[in-house]
């Protein structure tokens, strides 16, 4: 019975893996294709043309990757720095008009970014932030902060304050209790929130174009312009680079999940608890 169930589970896993991996297959094939004409099921010739093109300075891929990493890293750090105290307040305490505060926190995800960014753009021009990497970083916080705040709020709500209370009666100041007990406890949740923030920033196109004004080149911008062009090889290679962080993060998250197996039951998936 048990073995049967396990076999069924493995089959399900295989189907799920296939569903995730299959769309990437053409991407892989195109990336290494030299010649691939209509009736052929597989490429008829192979080449590294796409990768060679990217390595050329004119392609700006390296510059765009660095920009994406820097902006994404900074946006991640800043949105966790904002989301941690905000999530702690929302998850732990009851206060008047809390619902309204939550609404305003979520508003940037609810309102189409195009609408709000028009206004932001005007202000940024006046402040001299338009067309700068710093401006792009700032505008990326609009969609990332709500994610980190909501994720961390659910982590704090699930966690309660009992451990901190225990620490206090044992002689820890509020600050010591936070550093020694709270922070290690919410670390998995912080990792998940950071991952979300980074991926949201990494895949941001509209905000980058509007505020960066073509001055700040990131990977999605190269990808979009390549996709508009007629070279599927170049587009596929770029797309592969583009999904790399997400895949790396997923692998890291899975390893993390396994390491924390014993605690998983208490903390929910990746320490996320119930996202509400």
């Amino acid at each position: 019975m048990d073995r049967k169930n396990r076999r069924r589970g493995n089959l399900g896993l295989a189907v799920a893996a296939l569903l995730v991996a299959l769309p990437f297959l053409p991407l892989f094939l195109w990336s290494f294709a030299g010649e691939w004409r209509f009736p052929a099921l597989l490429p008829t010739g192979w080449s590294l043309r796409g990768f060679q093109a990217l390595a050329e300075p004119g392609s700006r891929v390296i510059e765009a990757t660095i920009n994406s990493l820097v902006v994404g890293g900074a946006a991640t750090a800043a949105s966790v720095a904002v989301g941690l105290p905000a999530g702690m307040a929302l998850g732990r305490y009851e206060f008047r008009l809390k619902g309204l505060v939550v609404f305003f926190v979520l508003l940037p995800i609810l309102v189409p970014p195009l609408a709000s960014t028009m206004g932001v753009h005007l202000t940024f021009i006046r402040l001299g932030l338009a067309d700068t990497a710093f401006g792009v970083f700032l505008v990326h916080l609009v969609p990332t902060v709500p994610y980190t705040t909501v994720i961390l709020a659910s982590v704090f709500a699930e966690r309660g304050v009992e451990l901190e209370e225990a620490a206090r009666t044992l002689g820890a100041t509020p600050w010591q209790a936070f550093l020694r007990v709270t922070l290690p406890g919410v670390a998995p949740g912080v990792a998940v929130a950071a991952l979300f923030a980074f991926l949201v920033s990494w895949s941001q196109y509209i905000l980058t174009v509007l505020i960066g004004g073509g001055n700040v080149i990131t990977l999605p911008m190269l990808l979009f312009s390549a996709a508009r062009g007629s070279d599927p090889v170049l587009t596929s290679v770029l797309a592969l680079i583009f999904v790399l962080p997400a895949i790396l993060a997923l692998v890291a998250a899975l390893r993390f999940l396994k390491a924390g197996d014993a605690k998983k039951k208490q903390e929910g998936l990746l320490g996320l608890g119930k996202v509400s």
């Binding site: 044992l170 002689g171 020694r180 014993a262």
Partner: protein, 343 residues
């Protein structure tokens, strides 16, 4: 090390219409173990949190060692708390958990290691220093939590239902351990529980709290021998209540005039006697009754008796008394076991 704890007129309201705690006043002598006994939701945990400094009272005062601590944050009160759940820090080893309080105080490493080791040995967890809490059973976790609270030699030990999350077979061992280390360290201790048996076994004195009010504060035996009122008597398992008129040192009841060792004040009174105190013999305060019911309980037999005038009484007698339903017996209520309840 031993410190007196005084609580004065402690009142706390969470904002509802009835305060969780109203006017609680009691003092705990140095080295004494006091049980705050009451049903869940009676305000006893609130009181404990106020003593620990985790809650601020709406009104009243808490004094530790004669000094008001209302403005002292929890970490400076030296009032270590053990909770219902062990609340060990999951990311630390047993050793780091126990050493936590010492680390917060900046104790030198060598001294810390020595004290942690001693504390773990004291709760019979010497070999578990490098384990993570998740690798321990519930009972072991609770013992480590006790060691963690004791290692800093706190002025007060506050225990919030530390046994109620444990299996019945572990509870007795943990209870013994708490009593042992508390006597040994002479810690002034407040123990919150809803379990009357636990309170009776552990406590030097019991403070019975219901609905946020202190109902009775006395030694455990007083709750059996001299309960203040019927509610308290019933809470502690008293089953026999007799109404009567007190006159000249005796009480006129449907069973006749009964003598009391401690005479009741004149007027209408309710007498109580514990089922265990009822005797099958003649003499002072005796009358005849018929056995209506017999329940064998192993260590004793509980008889339901009916005396003249239809008065029902419960008597718990040794198991070798073999009475059968319908037997007529002579029953005596010893004067020293009869107690007149207040109202």
């Amino acid at each position: 090390m031993s410190t007196r704890l005084e609580i004065q007129d402690l009142t706390h309201s969470y904002g509802g219409d009835r305060p969780a705690l109203s006017g609680l006043t009691l003092s705990v002598e140095p080295g004494e173990l006091v049980a705050l006994l009451g049903p869940s939701g009676c305000g006893k945990t609130t009181a404990l949190k106020i003593i620990a400094g985790l809650l601020s009272p709406t009104a009243g005062d808490v004094r530790i060692g004669g000094r008001s601590v209302l403005n002292v944050p929890p970490e400076q009160r030296e009032a270590a708390m053990v909770f219902q759940k062990s609340l060990l820090f999951p990311h630390m080893t047993v050793e780091s958990n126990v050493g936590f309080g010492l680390r917060m105080r900046g104790t030198p490493r060598g001294e810390m290691r020595e004290r942690v080791e001693r504390a773990l040995r004291r709760v019979h967890m010497g070999g578990f220093a490098t384990r993570k809490p998740a690798a321990l059973s519930g009972g072991q976790q609770q013992r480590v939590a006790l060691a963690r609270a004791l290692v800093t030699e706190p002025r007060l030990l506050l225990l919030d239902e530390p046994l109620s999350a444990l299996d019945a077979n572990l509870r007795e061992g943990m209870r013994g351990l708490i009593k042992e280390v508390q006597r040994e360290g002479k810690h002034t201790t407040v123990f919150v529980t809803h379990d009357q048996e636990e309170a009776v076994i552990l406590a030097d004195r019991i403070a019975l709290v219901t609905d946020g009010h202190l109902r009775m504060y006395d030694r455990p035996e007083a709750f059996y021998d001299r309960p203040l009122n019927r509610e308290i008597a019933e809470f502690f398992g008293a089953a026999n209540f007799l109404h009567g008129q007190a006159r000249n040192g005796t009480v006129e009841t449907p069973l006749g005039a009964l003598k009391l060792a401690i005479p009741a004040t004149s007027g209408e009174v309710t007498l109580t006697i514990r089922p265990e105190a009822v005797r099958l013999e003649g003499g002072e305060n005796s009358f005849s009754a018929r056995v209506r019911e017999a329940t064998y309980l192993g260590t004793q037999v509980l008889y339901g008796l009916e005396a003249s005038g239809g008065v029902a009484l419960k008597a718990a007698l040794p198991p070798h008394t073999r009475l059968t339903v319908g037997d007529d017996v002579l029953v005596r209520l010893p004067a020293e076991s009869l107690w007149a309840l207040g109202r």
